[in-house]
């Protein structure tokens, strides 16, 4: 909503008159008596009211916004990023990258959303509102957000059980994710899948079974043989459940373990590094050269799952050190503030908005009803006519609909 040109011109004229009147010592005393001045003051009051309505009504922003809007931010900034270790590659991703203010704010918001969503899941699990298995990815936000930043929504992604972050970056809402965790009908799998079984367009879950090694080498062989455009990604968070990588792997240079497949080792705590590496890898694949491997060096703050305290096989000092030196959200924030891409207040505001979004989603996830019992048998087969499903005994029957 804008003030009309006529109103604005009139306002300036009256302001000018008022200034003149009040500025003059002798005139000021009988300024109030002057009808013209009263008219002026009345108009000023209306003006201010209108202006404040414009500022608060249309965009729901607090008064501090007014200050922010007037500040000059840089449109973009160039940053140096860590060089990736390369395997069977002549060149790697660039060592500098340009981050626009818009992208920076977007990544910040996304990472903060994943972080807060995972922490909310932790809380709900401890309240026993989430049951079963729950594998959280807080600490690894740069991986899912950075990856998504480097690929297209039309690309296809599949992952293992630590999937909530990817489910979000692939396009599902926090509401749908939390409601799936709480097993309600508004969940993305209608409450039937749970934490490890979330799916979206071009996102194939969410998988609970991870027989690591044999199958991956079979996949490497076929992908290389047939030159499939596939990026194999290892989120190396240093531990396989409770076993450190040194105790489980003959070689911990996972980016080299594709052997004949080229690989990159990437700083998985730096979202810009992940983005550039992903862009590089995606370009490699799309050019028809075949598969490529990316090892993202990252860290999870939580244990393997909610039933693992995560401190019997690593020290609290280690966790604290990563948090204070390498937290992905902190790293992005510092970069943006120091390069004048955003202000501390602005980012704090995003924090507030994200918190609210998560709270609303959690509210929904706890209030939404469970899926109806009648639908227990649904979705066994696709594209099939309805049939009957046996329950706990031959007299209990459920209908199955595709």
């Amino acid at each position: 909503m804008t003030l009309s040109r006529r109103a604005a011109t009139e306002a300036w004229r009256l302001l000018g008159h008022l200034k003149e009147t009040l500025g003059h010592p002798r005139r000021a005393s009988w300024a109030v008596r002057s009808r013209r001045c009263r008219q002026c003051l009345c108009f000023m009051r209306k003006m201010l009211a209108a202006v404040s309505r414009v500022l608060s009504g249309a965009s729901q922003k607090p008064a501090s916004r007014v200050l922010v809007a007037s500040r000059n931010f840089a449109n973009d900034a160039t940053f140096e990023i860590k060089k990736c270790d390369l395997h069977r590659l002549e060149e790697g991703p660039p060592v500098t990258t340009v981050l626009t203010r818009e992208d920076g704010l977007k990544y910040y918001r996304m990472m903060q959303t994943v972080r807060r969503m995972e922490l909310k899941a932790d809380q709900l699990y401890k309240q026993k509102i989430i049951r079963g298995f729950c594998h959280l990815c807080d600490g690894q936000e740069a991986c899912c957000v950075g990856l998504e930043a480097g690929i297209n929504p039309t690309d296809h992604l599949i992952t293992a059980y630590r999937a909530h972050g990817f489910t979000f970056t692939r396009g599902l809402s926090v509401r749908e994710i939390l409601a799936e965790l709480t097993g309600r009908k508004g969940g993305c799998a209608k409450g039937k899948g749970g934490s490890m079984h979330m799916y979206a367009k071009n996102f194939y879950g969410g998988n609970g079974i991870v027989g690591a090694q044999g199958q991956i080498f079979e996949a490497y062989n076929m992908a290389a043989l047939w030159k499939l455009p596939c990026i194999f990604i290892c989120e190396n968070n240093r531990y396989g459940m409770g076993t450190s990588v040194e105790r489980a792997a003959a070689s911990t240079d996972y980016y080299k373990r594709g052997d004949f497949i080229p690989g990159l080792r990437v700083d998985g705590m730096d979202i810009l590094c992940v983005r550039e590496a992903t862009r590089f890898a995606a370009a490699y694949c799309r050019s028809g050269k075949g598969p490529i491997l990316m090892e993202l060096q990252t860290y999870r703050y939580h244990g393997h799952s909610m039933s693992d305290p995560g401190v019997s096989y690593r020290t609290r000092e280690e966790i604290q050190e990563v948090r204070s030196k390498s937290d992905p959200i902190m790293l992005l924030k510092d970069r943006m503030v120091n390069s004048n891409l955003a202000s501390v207040e602005e980012l704090k505001e995003i924090d507030v908005e994200v918190r609210k979004e998560i709270e609303d989603a959690a509210q929904f996830a706890t209030a939404d009803p469970e899926p109806p019992l009648e639908e227990l048998g649904y979705h066994i087969y696709s594209s099939d006519p309805p049939f009957e499903v046996r329950g706990a005994n031959q007299w209990i029957k459920f209908k199955s609909v595709s």
Partner: protein, 341 residues
């Protein structure tokens, strides 16, 4: 719970199923140095479900081995070790993960003694939690009793209480054949009274022998693993209504103790089977088929009835999950229907 003899008053300890398995393995590890345990997190983490707590500390790296997350790989290594003369206990974190290694279990372990014309035994134990837990959803809740029970060459046991757990794991380790031990995660923390004979280091429960947990006259209720407890609960409820159920704890899936079941059916004339797995081609289906093939068929006054898990992949939402496993009310309903009351 376990029937207690009222005549002899000896102090009875309460031992959880977890500790019973731990004790059983500990005793066998001590008795025979060829016995060793391998699997994910079994050593330094004390076991994903703490079943192997303290064993690594006591026996060290050579006997308690942490493996990478490679079921096909380490199951194959275990089978090879068994062929070469060792006595491995191969833990699957849950039997759902054994599907990654099922070729090793069936083709390398189960069939080998037969294929070699009696030359090459495979004295291996595959153990781990089986069946539904709580809220672990479709890929982590499957019961493998019917799948493994299907295969000649394998022995398959399914302990219910602490006594079962200790006696069966010891027998399994001492057996020269591949034995699949189907434990239950929800039972691990449940304490049971441990009779004095179970406290002995040579306490063994024979594989292939069922146990009558509760005597009855009106109907035979056959079950294995956690549902045995539900059957006993149902029996207690029905007893108040004057119906006395005979509850049989199978203990072994293969070779199945049909004699005990038949003798019971010939006494009660009615049969209900109860299992956590899916109905089609399940344990109950096999029992019913065998009843028809044997002497007990002519003693049946009503068709045998099966109570099973629902024929769906395990849903996550609590209300759906609760209705996908056999509940006490489903067992009572089936019993009453069979007895026409």
């Amino acid at each position: 719970m376990a029937a207690v003899s009222g005549l002899v008053r000896r102090p009875l300890r309460e031992v959880t199923v977890r500790d019973a398995i731990n004790q059983g393995m500990d005793e066998e590890l001590e008795r025979d140095e060829k016995v060793f345990l391998l699997g994910e997190e079994v050593a330094q983490y004390d076991g994903a479900y703490k079943v192997s707590r303290g064993l690594w500390k006591k026996y060290g790296d050579k006997r308690i081995i942490d493996t990478p997350i490679s079921e096909m790989g380490f199951a194959g290594i275990a089978v090879g070790a068994a062929m070469a003369g060792l006595r491995p206990i191969c833990e699957f974190m849950t039997f759902n993960f054994s599907m990654q290694a099922i070729d090793q279990v069936i083709n390398s372990a189960a069939k080998t003694y037969y294929m070699s014309g009696g030359f090459q035994p495979v004295p291996i134990v595959f153990r781990g939690p089986n069946g539904a837990s709580a809220g672990v959803a479709a890929q982590h809740s499957q019961c493998f009793a019917a799948w493994y029970g299907h295969c000649p060459g394998l022995k398959v046991v399914s302990p219910w209480n602490s006594e079962d757990a200790k006696g069966l794991i010891k027998s399994a380790i001492r057996d020269n054949n591949p034995v699949v031990v189907l434990e239950n995660e929800l039972m691990y923390g449940v304490p049971f009274e441990f009779p004095p004979e179970a406290q002995s280091k040579d306490f063994l429960i024979p594989i292939g022998k069922a146990k009558i947990e509760r005597q009855g006259t009106h109907i035979t209720v056959v079950s294995h693993s956690r549902p045995v407890g539900h059957c006993l609960e149902a029996a207690a409820v029905l007893s108040k209504e004057g119906v006395e159920c005979e509850v049989i704890n199978m203990r072994t899936i293969r070779p199945m103790d049909m004699e005990t079941i038949e003798a019971s059916v010939m006494k009660t004339n009615h049969l209900v089977t109860v299992e956590g797995g899916w109905p089609q081609f399940g344990v109950g289906a096999e029992i019913c088929a065998r009843i028809m093939e044997g002497p007990a068929f002519n003693f049946l006054d009503a068709p045998a009835v099966r109570v099973t898990g629902a024929d769906v992949p395990m849903p996550y939402a609590k209300i759906l999950e609760d209705n996908s496993i056999p509940q006490v009310k489903d067992i009572i309903f089936a019993i009453k229907k069979t007895l026409n009351i």
